[in-house]
Each structure stands twice: as structure tokens, then as C-alpha cells.
């Protein structure tokens, strides 16, 4: 545990030295402010312009879902970039043969940042949310977002050979978040075409108010993580 803690703290120091990663790290606060202040302001402007009673209000919960996903995705993107840089410099392989080991390395680079992002999401989401979410829903959205963050980190590390490729894969991987749009915009049974995406079930939890979908969302995310974990393991061998 000591070596995992040291490795995690070292990664934070590494991020502090990289302006791009540091900026990404503080961006969830600004995104939260934009959502909390900007969306209601936009709603006011749009209703005045169109004369409609509401325009964006039906989608306020969707903004909350996306915000809950964006925070962990940003943190996991940062750790994925650190991991790719360590791979570029062959450092990951060296760390595998220290007392940190392969397992400790992934705990310090994936599990701890994910846990950290869960805590940050659980703090920022209630402060910046637009819709009326229960405590259980807030915790679930924080967890679901964290699992999506882990999935994106593993996609980036598993399918990129270097940092440059990682940037490109991150953009494509971010589509994983968009499953939550389906329950809002895709009618009837067609929406289930996206049911393989964990974010789809996250959207279903909020729109259908069915707690059982929380379990489905977590299970689908867990399946993705297991498959991607094996892919990353094979890549490292």
C-alpha cells in the first residue's frame, strides 16, 4: 500500500508539472460553473426569445448526467496520458519490476484516480446540478460516471501505442458517454440498440426512475472493464 500511495502522489506531482494536464484537472470546476449559471441563463434567454414556457428544462437531468460523467472522464483522461507517457518512456515496464509491481501500478494509475474522481464528482455534482436528484441518484451518477472514466482510460491505454494516438483515441472513446442521450431522444424500442453502453442505462435510471437499471448500468460497465482490462494486460505482455 505504501508504494501505491507513493506512486499515486508521484503522478499528482507529474500532472502539476504539465500545464495541459493541470488545466484539464481544474476544468471540472469551470464546467460546473458554466452549467450551474450558464444553462439557466440560456433557458431564460431562450424562453424570452421563443415565448415557450420552457426549452431546456426537460433536459436539465441530461446535463447533470453528462456533468457527472465528464468529471471522471477528465481525471481518467489525465491518468491515461500519464500512463501513455510512461509507456513511451518504457517506465511502466520498469515499475512492474519494482516492489510497486504491475497490480500496484494499475491501482495507482486507474483505481485511485477513479476513487478520487468519484469523491470530486460527489462533491461538485450536488453543487452544480440543475435537476431535482435524490441522494441515491447523485451517488449513482457519481459511480456511473467513475466507471465510464475507467472504461475510457482503459480504452485509451489499450488501443493507443503512444501519447499522440492516445489523444485521438480519447476523442473517439468519449462517445461512450453519449449512450445517455438515447432515452431522451430515441423513441421506443430503437433506443435499446445502445443498451450495450453503460451510459444508456444511466440515462434510463434518470428518465424511467427505475432503480433496477442502476444494477444493469453497473453490470454492463463491469463487463466492459473486465474485457478492456484483459486487453491492456495482453498489450503489456
Amino acid at each position: 500500500m505504501r508504494t501505491i500511495r507513493i506512486s499515486f502522489i508521484h503522478m499528482l506531482g507529474f500532472v502539476r508539472r504539465d500545464m495541459m494536464l493541470l488545466a484539464a484537472g481544474v476544468s471540472p470546476i469551470f464546467i460546473g460553473l458554466v452549467i450551474r449559471l450558464g444553462i439557466p441563463f440560456s433557458e431564460k434567454m431562450l424562453t424570452e426569445m421563443t415565448g415557450l414556457p420552457y426549452v431546456l428544462v426537460p433536459y436539465f437531468s441530461l446535463f447533470d448526467i453528462l456533468y457527472a460523467a465528464i468529471i471522471p472522464v477528465i481525471f481518467c483522461f489525465i491518468t491515461a496520458m500519464v500512463m501513455l507517457e510512461e509507456r513511451d518512456d518504457h517506465i511502466d515496464r520498469y515499475l512492474f519490476v519494482t516492489q510497486l509491481g504491475r497490480f500496484g501500478y494499475y491501482v495507482s494509475r486507474v483505481v485511485l484516480p477513479a476513487a478520487f474522481s468519484f469523491v470530486v464528482t460527489a462533491i461538485l455534482l450536488p453543487a452544480c446540478k440543475l435537476s431535482d436528484l435524490s441522494v441515491l441518484e447523485l451517488l449513482f451518477l457519481s459511480l456511473a460516471g467513475t466507471l465510464q472514466g475507467i472504461i475510457i482510460a482503459l480504452l485509451v491505454v489499450g488501443f493507443s501505442a503512444n501519447k499522440l494516438e492516445g489523444m485521438a483515441v480519447t476523442k473517439v472513446s468519449s462517445l461512450v458517454m453519449l449512450g445517455s442521450l438515447a432515452p431522451y431522444f430515441i423513441p421506443g424500442p430503437y433506443r435499446y440498440l445502445l443498451s450495450f453502453m453503460p451510459s444508456f442505462w444511466t440515462g434510463m435510471v434518470i428518465t424511467e426512475k427505475q432503480p433496477i437499471f442502476m444494477l444493469v448500468s453497473v453490470l454492463v460497465a463491469a463487463l466492459w472493464i473486465v474485457v478492456l482490462w484483459k486487453k491492456v494486460g495482453r498489450k503489456n505482455n
Binding site: D89, V97, Q99, G104
Partner: protein
């Protein structure tokens, strides 16, 4: 220190390491020699516990490699062929970080830096280091926790003659300190100079294993070549052990007519080619 019995490993259905058997004694420098793709790196990965899916047995420091825990790495130091440093950090920051990943910190970082002539570059970013400086830094990184077993992969690659000598002296110094050293190299001169025993590996199999001296002596005879002047420069050769039978040489010696004479032994590279039918590069 290391016992390998009936070791077989494959990445695909075709075996890559085939029924390999060898042991390495404590305090010994053991060299793996073979061309690229021979299986040296795979063997090293197995012994480092990175490829647990092997058949047979590979015991390092009394522990089966596939069953190791994190304490396994407390007694192992690795110097990969390529640099494994954080380029944005200084040499000292790198060494301090990597040494913090072990329970014991046995060696002084300043002393190690001084030993490889990097004491004045300790606070310089590694990205500003030359290839030779990175090689030296990489080497001492493997020593920060004073391991009992060292894996060195091409430790002298890319070094100028002075630093090559420095590195070899440090390796011999570590041997004197009681370390067991596994050396992977293409450099036959280094292997001859450093290794107590070497194994020739080709196609995932060990073709020969002995001390460099025994290998050279068992497979080839030293040759004496001499020159003299008779209608221009003439050259002739004979085997060292048959010098007394060479009448021409005796006559030239008796008449003080030799222009030059020197003996040459076959190199380890010659022996490698003779045994395996392959070159090392």
C-alpha cells in the same frame, strides 16, 4: 540463485522457449548470448515474473517466478537496454522516486552518482542527458535498493570506450560485493571479459553453456601467424600446439629472419558461429 528446469513458453501455439535447463550460482556473472529474436528477452521476462504462463519450473531466489509477491522485487535490480527514466525529472529526482518504491534504501544516491561520474549532473533534467549518461544513470537506478540479483540488458551499449570501461569495472565491483548478475549482450568482448559462464541461445534453445575460456579452448585451437622476407613479404601459419613441428618456422627463428610473429585465438563470436551456425547480429 536461479534454477530453470524444463522451461517451455509460447506466445502462440508454437513453442518460443523450448525445454530450457540451466542454473546460475550465487555471485556468478552469467551471460545470455544470442541474436535478436532468440528468446533472451522472453527468458528475462519469465525470470522477472512478467510472463507467468510458462510450463516447467523457473525458480529465482528460492521463489517460483509465476507465484511471486511484491517482495520478490526487493532482491532484484533491472537495467533494461533502453532508458526507463522520467525525462522531465532530474537524475536525482528519478533515483529518489525509484528508490522510494522499495522497503529498504541501502545505497547512497550521491555515492552512486559519483561512481558513474554524474555527480555534477544530478540536478539536470534527464532529457538533457546524452545516451551514455542515460545508460550510466539507468545502471545505478538498478542498484539503489542494493539487490542481490542484477539483470543487465546490453549495459555497455552506446557507451564510449572510457565509459564502457567504467561500466564494466562497476559490474565487476558489484560481483565483488556478492551480487549475482545476469547479463544479456551481443558484445562478445564484454561477455568474454565479464562472464563466468555464458549460454548460447538460438531459437529458444540453449546450444552451449560453459565459461568463455572453456568454450574457446574446446572448440578451436590458437593459431600462430608469422612473416618473413623472401622475394617480398611471405606469410605462414600453424597451430600453436604444433609450433615445434613447423620446420620452416624453426629455421626462420634459427636464422633470425622472422619479420613478425603473433598468435590468435578464436573469439567467442567464432565459437558461437561454429556451434549455432548463426551470427550474433
Amino acid at each position: 540463485m536461479i534454477q530453470v528446469k524444463n522451461l517451455t513458453f509460447s506466445y502462440t501455439k508454437k513453442p518460443f522457449i523450448k525445454d530450457m535447463n540451466f542454473s546460475v550460482n550465487e555471485g556468478e556473472i552469467f551471460g545470455f548470448l544470442g541474436p535478436s529474436g532468440a528468446g533472451k528477452s522472453t527468458l528475462q521476462k519469465i525470470l522477472l515474473g512478467m510472463l507467468p504462463g510458462y510450463r516447467g519450473s523457473a525458480i529465482v531466489g528460492g521463489m517460483e517466478c509465476r507465484e511471486h509477491g511484491s517482495e520478490f522485487y526487493q532482491s532484484i535490480g533491472v537495467d533494461f537496454e533502453y532508458s526507463t527514466m522520467y525525462e522531465k525529472l532530474s537524475a536525482r529526482e528519478n533515483l529518489e522516486f525509484f528508490s522510494s518504491l522499495y522497503d529498504k534504501r541501502a545505497r547512497s544516491i550521491d555515492e552512486l552518482l559519483m561512481a558513474v561520474g554524474l555527480e555534477n549532473d544530478a540536478d539536470k533534467r534527464v532529457s538533457d542527458f546524452s545516451k551514455g549518461m542515460k545508460s550510466r544513470l539507468n545502471f545505478i537506478k538498478a542498484l539503489v535498493h542494493d539487490p542481490k540479483l542484477l539483470f543487465l540488458d546490453e549495459p555497455t551499449s552506446g557507451l564510449d570506450p572510457a565509459n564502457n570501461r567504467l561500466m564494466k569495472d562497476m559490474i565487476l565491483e558489484e560481483k565483488k560485493r556478492g551480487k549475482t548478475i545476469l547479463l544479456t549482450t551481443h558484445n562478445m568482448q564484454d561477455a568474454t571479459e565479464l562472464c563466468d559462464r555464458v549460454a548460447f541461445i538460438v531459437g529458444g534453445q540453449i546450444y552451449a553453456m560453459d565459461s568463455p575460456h572453456n568454450l574457446i579452448m574446446s572448440k578451436g585451437a590458437a593459431v600462430v601467424t608469422y612473416t618473413w622476407i623472401q622475394n617480398g613479404e611471405q606469410t605462414a601459419s600453424c597451430e600453436l600446439e604444433k609450433m615445434s613441428e613447423d620446420k620452416q618456422l624453426q629455421e626462420l627463428i634459427a636464422k633470425n629472419q622472422l619479420q613478425s610473429i603473433h598468435s590468435s585465438e578464436p573469439t567467442l563470436n567464432d565459437i558461437f558461429m561454429e556451434i549455432t551456425g548463426r551470427t550474433l547480429v
